[in-house]
């Protein structure tokens, strides 16, 4: 009888162990985005203008350099931060000033944002300032964004081009 009770206890212990594993190994389910939502990814890898424009060396300056290093033009390394503004139906959803990568801030400016959005039609407007100017934008684009639940659209900002990629539903 005691042996039977022991075996029953062991079975119960293993059963409890399995129940705990089964309960959390594949659930409860989780939704990364709210129901009826999609996602807009904004990805940028953009080379902005230099803070100081490149300058031609004068003949005197060239002569002062060692013969093997007599370049005609010198460029400061730093690049201006890139201002990115994204509006959806006129509402500002992204407003970021992205510094160029690297210790000298001489690389591309990288940005990656994930924006959950309710499914629907949107007027997407991208404004970019990547020069030392204080006002206005160097690039502006408008796109029509049609988002269905579960869609993940991609706004890709490169060095000179911008594209909005919508999911292929075929």
């Amino acid at each position: 009888m005691k042996q039977l009770a022991r075996h029953a206890g062991q079975l119960a212990a293993w059963a409890l162990f399995l129940v705990v594993i089964a309960a959390f190994a594949a659930g409860p389910a989780f939704s990364p985005v709210p129901e009826g939502h999609g996602e807009l990814k904004i990805s940028m890898a953009h080379l902005a203008e230099r803070i100081e424009p490149c300058r031609q060396l004068t003949e005197e300056e060239r002569q002062a350099l060692p013969p093997t290093r007599r370049v005609t033009e010198v460029c400061e390394r730093g690049r201006v931060p890139t201002l990115v503004r994204v509006r959806l139906d006129g509402e500002l959803v992204i407003d970021r000033r992205v510094r160029a990568a690297g210790w000298q801030e001489d690389g591309r400016a990288y940005l990656l944002e994930f924006q959950p959005l309710p499914a629907g039609q949107y007027q997407l407007e991208l404004s970019l300032r990547d020069s030392p100017r204080a006002q206005g934008y160097d690039m502006q684009r408008r796109f029509q964004l049609a988002l269905e639940p579960g869609d993940s659209a991609l706004l890709e900002i490169g060095d000179g081009d911008v594209a909005l990629r919508l999911p292929d539903r075929n």
């Binding site: 591309r108 579960g150 292929d168």
Partner: protein
């Protein structure tokens, strides 16, 4: 009769833990209680995941197109082997998280992370990360919607750290951005890199532990494997639809054991997850020193009594004793040397020392190696303190970490609580019966495979059975000796066993060992 003050009383949390574990001890006969083998079970589940993982990898294709399809083939077409192997792989990994978590909590509650044990605790902390990386990287390999979520989320987590100039997440912005080489890389990390790191980390974790128990009992191995197999058959693991980076998964059946940080990140932020993970790791790592406590004094070698036999060095569960060249004039080659940084003050070395004999007519009584806070003189005094009432009475040796023997003390029961029952020298049992005149001796220590100092119960048993030196002399009547291995909080059972033992003793005829203590050469102060 008197009971000496216990040095470290088990706190309420420890007593509660022991109470919760009692039903398991009843069912698994103590020694097979899974709670006593949590670390070993974690390693066993790692083995299961390793073997099943090798099988899965034979069929796995490390390419963007092949990853999901090959796992799907294993799951659906080869369900009888590959499918079960996959489920077993997943469930063994999940089981490892459960046993690992319980192992951490249990060791902390039992205070086994403090003092000289800090090293094992600290080197165990990175193992938590290794286990998590194992799980996360494994989920990448399936390349289904869950893998997509895990890949993007873990890349975003990494991007929060100021390491990468080009965000890692940009590798997952579109289906075209993902390269087949990713799967070669992740397979290498999951199958080669992390197992090597895990084995090294386990080695470090056990470095300061002598005779580590890296395998659970056979019964537990078979039981847990059978249980996981049953679950694998009843609830096979399936993949989500293949990953599509043009879509965002709407509902995911998350493995909360490994992936809970990602939903946490989704509802909070990457920074918050790092704060929890980093802060939690730091707090865990600092626990051995929080709050700072006073250390129990380490064992001390008394050279005039040390013959350099090496039994103490052999028995020390933490390798705190080295045998070094003799430093005095005596004609022995070696002497014991204690490393106080490794000594947990269990006193097992005192129990192993052949010089630890209360029969010796010396005052104060010394031995080759002993604990400054509980010397052999104290030990003999505790036995003798009730000598006038010893005849026909019962002496119960207990352990500060096992059942509270002071709770069973009575007019005919004298109790002595020690740092560990492994501290009892076999000659002490002989002395209690032969010289002091107790009618019987009971030893109540921690339950099988659950000794607070790891090996005290094993060594005591082996010394009684004369399987380990110094062995209990043959002349000691074994029918007058009782061993009870149980948990703190299970004093009722101890009381019951002692009551039965007393009845048993009453039925025994008085042997010559039960002669008057004054006729059998008692300690010198009593003889005089």
């Amino acid at each position: 009769m008197t009971t000496p003050a216990m040095r470290t009383m088990p706190g309420p949390a420890r007593r509660l833990l022991a109470r919760l574990e009692l039903p398991l001890s009843r069912a698994f006969e103590g020694v097979h209680n899974p709670m006593h083998h949590l670390g070993a079970l974690t390693i066993f589940f790692f083995y299961v995941a390793l073997v099943t993982g090798i099988y899965l990898f034979i069929f796995y294709r490390t390419s963007l197109e092949g990853a999901w399809a090959s796992v799907e083939y294993l799951t659906r077409e080869q369900w009888y082997a590959g499918g079960i192997m996959r489920s077993l792989h997943r469930y063994a990994s999940d089981a490892a998280v459960i046993t690992l978590g319980l192992h951490i909590v249990r060791e902390m509650i039992r205070g086994r992370h403090k003092g000289p044990r800090w090293f094992s605790w600290l080197t165990g902390v990175p193992l938590i990360w290794v286990v998590l990386w194992f799980g996360i990287s494994g989920y990448w390999m399936v390349w289904d919607e869950l893998a997509q979520y895990v890949a993007v989320s873990s890349a975003r987590l990494m991007d929060w750290l100021p390491i990468f100039t080009d965000p890692m997440s940009r590798n997952f912005i579109s289906n075209e951005a993902v390269s087949s080489r990713l799967f070669t890389l992740i397979a290498f990390i999951h199958l080669v890199g992390l197992p090597i790191v895990a084995v090294l980390a386990i080695w470090f974790h056990l470095l300061r532990v002598r005779r580590p128990r890296i395998n659970p009992t056979r019964k537990l191995m078979l039981g847990s494997l059978a249980a996981l197999l049953v679950l694998s058959v009843l609830m096979p693991v399936y993949s989500h639809p293949p990953a599509d980076l043009d879509r965002v998964p709407l509902s995911l059946d998350i493995d909360w054991f490994y992936l809970a940080i990602f939903p946490l990140m989704s509802v909070t932020s990457e920074g918050f997850v790092w704060l929890v993970a980093g802060g939690g790791t730091l707090v865990l790592a600092a626990l051995p020193w929080l709050p700072p406590g006073r250390r129990t004094p380490a064992a001390e070698v008394h050279l005039p009594d040390c013959t350099g036999c090496g039994f103490c060095a052999e028995d020390c569960p933490y390798g705190a004793i080295d045998m070094v060249e003799r430093s005095d004039e005596r004609n022995f080659k070696l002497e014991a040397k204690v490393n106080p940084d490794l000594c947990v003050s269990c006193g097992i070395c005192t129990g192993s020392c052949p010089s630890s004999s209360p029969f010796r007519q010396r005052r104060p009584l010394t031995t080759g190696i002993e604990m400054p806070h509980f010397t052999m003189e104290d030990f003999r005094e505790q036995i003798d303190v009730a000598a006038d009432k010893a005849r026909g009475a019962l002496l119960v040796f207990g352990c500060d970490h096992g059942p509270r023997v002071d709770r069973v003390a009575g007019p005919r029961t004298h109790t002595v609580s020690l740092p560990c029952v492994g501290m009892i020298p076999p000659a002490g049992i002989d002395y209690a019966m032969r010289s002091t005149g107790y009618s019987g001796v009971a030893i109540a220590g921690c339950e099988g495979c659950d000794c607070h100092h790891r090996l005290g119960d094993d060594f005591t048993r082996q010394r009684i059975e004369r399987e380990r030196q110094p062995g209990l002399r043959r002349r000691v009547p074994r029918e007058r000796l009782l061993t009870v291995w149980t948990k703190v909080g299970d004093e009722h059972r101890l009381e019951q066993r002692l009551s039965d033992f007393s009845l048993h003793l009453a039925e025994l005829p008085a042997g010559e060992e039960q002669s008057n203590s004054r006729q059998t050469g008692r300690r010198e102060e009593e003889v005089q």
